[in-house]
């Protein structure tokens, strides 16, 4: 089975690691070989969290620069920061709702223009799906469900070897029961957003 390489980047607290676990569990259920690695040092202190997920045969658990098939960013400037992982064939999915770095908040840095971010990513990769996942998560009933909105979008692009039902089964297994309805709704909204965008 060919290897599919997915990179997810987020700011600490955005639920990136839970999203990775959902995908990992889904792969386990579907009997698809999967390996993941994560760098989450200092996540609780506002740092960047990166996870790499590799589906299919092979042994490596990390993804080299220029070799991601899919890049999914939970925050637009973080998506741009991870562009070095992409190549001209990469599919990129990004949330468009910024989380201002503290350096920007206190006037010691400039946040890149959102239109410019999209234009740059579009030019350097094969496809960009960009939408406000945070707004959709709020609409679904919980701002913390950004990760599930993005998972919905990811599955819609059909870029990784996992189907809707498997991922939803994994969500039922892994995510908190009290949030499940909201999470499933968020997933569906992300799926639709990707279909339209």
């Amino acid at each position: 089975m060919n290897t599919t390489r997915l990179i997810m980047v987020a700011v600490g607290g955005q639920g990136n690691l839970l999203a990775s676990r959902v995908l990992g569990e889904a792969a386990l259920m579907a009997k698809i070989p999967v390996r993941m690695s994560e760098i989450h040092g200092m996540a609780q202190r506002g740092g960047v969290v990166e996870s790499a997920i590799l589906f299919g045969d092979g042994k490596s658990t990390i993804i080299s620069d220029g070799e991601a098939d899919v890049l999914m960013g939970f925050e637009p400037s973080e998506t741009l920061r991870a562009i070095n992982k992409c190549n001209s064939k990469t599919t990129v999915i990004t949330n468009l709702s910024p989380l201002m770095p503290f350096t920007v908040n206190i006037g010691r840095g400039v946040y890149p223009d959102l239109r410019k971010i999209q234009e740059l990513i579009r030019r350097k990769t094969s496809r960009l799906i960009a939408f406000n996942a945070t707004a959709l998560a709020k609409e679904a009933g919980n701002v913390m469900a950004v990760n599930m909105v993005l998972l919905g979008a990811l599955i819609q692009t059909d870029t990784i070897p996992l189907g809707i039902e498997t991922v939803k089964e994994a969500m039922k297994k892994i995510t908190k029961k009290s949030f499940l309805d909201t999470n499933l709704k968020a997933f569906d909204m992300g799926f639709s957003a990707a279909m339209n965008g």
């Binding site: 990992g24 386990l28 993941m36 609780q44 092979g58 220029g66 400037s77 908040n105």
Partner: protein
């Protein structure tokens, strides 16, 4: 029931490397485990801590790695299967134990887990701890994957019992923090009560005994070499005439690289999982029929030196290369494409590296340096020290913990750092070698770990500096593990003692002790000034619970603040770099969702413009 205690033999689970290691140890019947927390090893102990609360596994957070290893060594000398878990630099602290424990040996299996951190994701150096195996004369095992880590732990306990020596189990961050699918095996019953058989002339390391024990160690090492030669963890795949020798995660990158380059039929791979002693007979036979050999290992040329020496002994002159400017670096960690590229270059295989995107027109993306949390009391203490030392020539030796983040501007409150406890001892050194006012910072857990002996030394030798102990009631940086000063009733756990830092400091003989509540800014500054004027060793204990820990225990009481119309835009508040602040239309604002109500900013605002939000609905 804890998920790692499940008796579902054959079930497949997605586990983090550290969970797989803990499960492997549980399956092997580990009965006794001790640790000092340290990334990337921390989740192994966290799982043991949880498991110990619902089983007869004995687990403790020891005060440091030396203590942890000695605890485990005693248990293993009573026949228990024991484990000491630490990050790579922790083994430096425990090295004194390790060197002589190798002489004394063990009865029950003992595994010393060292989690190395190539690329230093969360460490002060990237030392390669395989050399500890060589230095101590102990076997070293290194897994290449999460699945293998679980299998290998069981083997490590068996090997330890066969050789009657502790076994070093070396991981790297990419094993500890990767996830893989692991198949559960049966759990061996734990033997939790052992017996100690007195044998002082083999167990009390006076010179006459140790001279004899060193002979035994060397015999054990020979035996280990034979076992390494036949170990299933040193394995050869493929039959070509191009040889690659690799270990750890490098094996994954090599195997994928050989596949990607389409050279499977030309390459023979020797994967070393039992790396000390190196399997010399196996390596000799591997070298037979190889035209040239590439060694792929992160870190130091540990295997490369051994393989070259073995080839020389065997009169072989084939090319053997590894670390060099054009192939592999000793720095940081490898990546799959880097390994693929070096394999292609060394064997002359046509290869086009991945086309990297053009980054020349990408604007600078603002950094997200890790920051002290909103409401963190370290920020308050740093601000107060800064105010109290205005106009003074200072040196700030710091230590290992969250508070090391104070190195970043605008706080800039860290000048020197070596290792756990170094703030106290270098503080003494700086004060003797210069005329500057020296103020050292150390956290409570680090103080218990390695700060106490330095403070004793400072009192005895009459040093002149101020030690600030940041007492936040937990080991915050590694994920809120307990330490001897922690109130364990917060965790609903009974049967623990509690050591008061103030009593310890007083007991050591420090006469000038000041306690501050860092959220009370003016009072703290006055108290600090007074302590700094003292000639000799003075200690300031800054006491306030870690705000994240308080939140997790539901003990946080603060209500959020806001910047009111009285603000004249001095922006003094921004000098403390609290992440709850942001600028909006050129005015300072506070994010009420982040503000914890510590009120430090309110006390430093020259206009008293920062006030509590009365009603949450008023917040913007």
């Amino acid at each position: 029931m804890h998920k790692l205690l499940k008796d579902h033999v054959g079930e497949k689970m997605l586990l983090l490397g550290n969970e797989a290691i803990a499960r492997g140890a549980v399956e092997a019947g580990v009965a006794f485990a001790a640790t000092y927390p340290g990334t990337p090893s921390s989740e192994i102990s966290l799982n043991f801590f949880q498991i110990s609360q619902e089983s007869d596994l004995y687990f403790e957070y020891s005060v440091n790695e030396k203590v942890a290893m000695e605890m485990a060594a005693a248990a293993a000398n009573c026949g228990l299967r024991s484990m000491a878990i630490m990050k790579h630099v922790g083994l430096n602290v425990a090295a004194d134990v390790l060197m002589t424990l190798a002489y004394v040996g063990v009865k029950g299996g003992m595994v010393v887990l060292t989690a190395d951190d190539p690329a230093m994701f969360s460490s002060q150096n990237e030392q390669d701890n395989r050399y500890y195996g060589k230095l101590a004369g102990l076997p070293v095992l290194e897994p290449s994957s999460v699945e293998e880590a679980k299998e290998m732990i069981s083997y490590a306990f068996d090997l330890s019992e066969t050789l009657k020596e502790p076994v070093l189990f070396r991981t790297t961050t990419r094993i500890n923090h990767s996830n893989g699918i692991v198949q559960l095996g049966p759990i061996k019953p734990r033997v939790t009560q052992g017996d100690f058989i007195k044998d002082p002339f083999n167990l009390v390391t006076i010179p006459a005994v140790s001279r004899k024990l060193h002979v035994k160690l060397l015999e054990n090492l020979e035996r280990a070499a034979e076992l390494s030669d036949t170990s299933r963890f040193n394995m050869i795949s493929g039959t070509g005439s191009w040889g690659i020798i690799c270990n750890g995660v490098s094996y994954a990158y090599v195997d994928d690289g050989v596949e990607d380059l389409g050279i499977r039929n030309k390459v023979k791979i020797l994967r070393i999982g039992f790396s000390n002693p190196m399997p010399s007979t196996l390596i000799k036979s591997f070298l037979n029929g190889c035209e040239k050999v590439l060694i792929v290992e992160e870190g130091e040329p540990f295997m490369e030196e051994a393989v070259k020496a073995i080839a020389q002994e065997d009169g072989k002159t084939l090319q053997i290369r590894g670390k060099s400017k054009d192939l592999f670096s000793r720095l940081y960690e490898f990546s799959p494409s880097q390994v693929r590229g070096s394999i292609a270059a060394f064997f002359g295989v046509p290869y086009t590296p991945p086309r990297l995107p053009d980054l020349s027109d990408i604007p600078e993306v603002p950094q997200r340096p890790p920051n002290l949390c909103a409401g963190c009391s370290h920020r308050a203490t740093y601000h107060e020290i800064k105010k109290a030392t205005e106009g003074m020539e200072t040196i700030y030796p710091t230590d290992i913990g969250c508070y090391t983040l104070g190195v970043l501007p605008p706080l800039s409150m860290a000048d020197f750092l070596l290792c756990m406890g170094s703030s106290v001892d270098t503080g003494g050194g700086f004060s003797k070698a210069t005329n500057r006012k020296v103020i050292s910072f150390i956290g409570d857990s680090t103080f218990f770990h390695s700060g106490i002996s330095g403070l004793v030394n400072a009192v005895f030798n009459n040093h002149n500096f101020t030690l600030v102990i940041l007492e936040n009631g937990t080991t915050a940086m590694t994920g809120h593990q307990p330490h001897p000063g922690v109130d364990m009733s917060h965790l609903n756990l009974e049967g623990y003692g509690r050591v008061s830092i103030e009593d310890v400091v007083r007991g050591i003989g420090v006469t000038h002790i000041t306690k501050i509540k860092p959220y009370k800014v003016k009072k703290s500054i006055d108290a600090i000034k007074e302590a700094l004027n003292y000639k000799g060793v003075s200690v300031i204990i800054s006491e306030e619970m870690c705000v994240l820990y308080a939140k997790s225990l539901k003990l946080a009481k603060g209500k959020p603040f806001q910047v009111t119309d009285k603000c004249k835009n001095h922006r003094t508040c921004l000098s403390i770099a609290c992440p709850a602040f942001f600028l909006w239309e050129n005015r300072v604002k506070i994010d009420p969702d982040l503000c914890t109500g510590c009120a430090v900013c309110a006390q430093i605002c020259p206009e008293n413009a920062i006030l509590p939000i009365k009603e949450r609905s008023q917040s913007s």
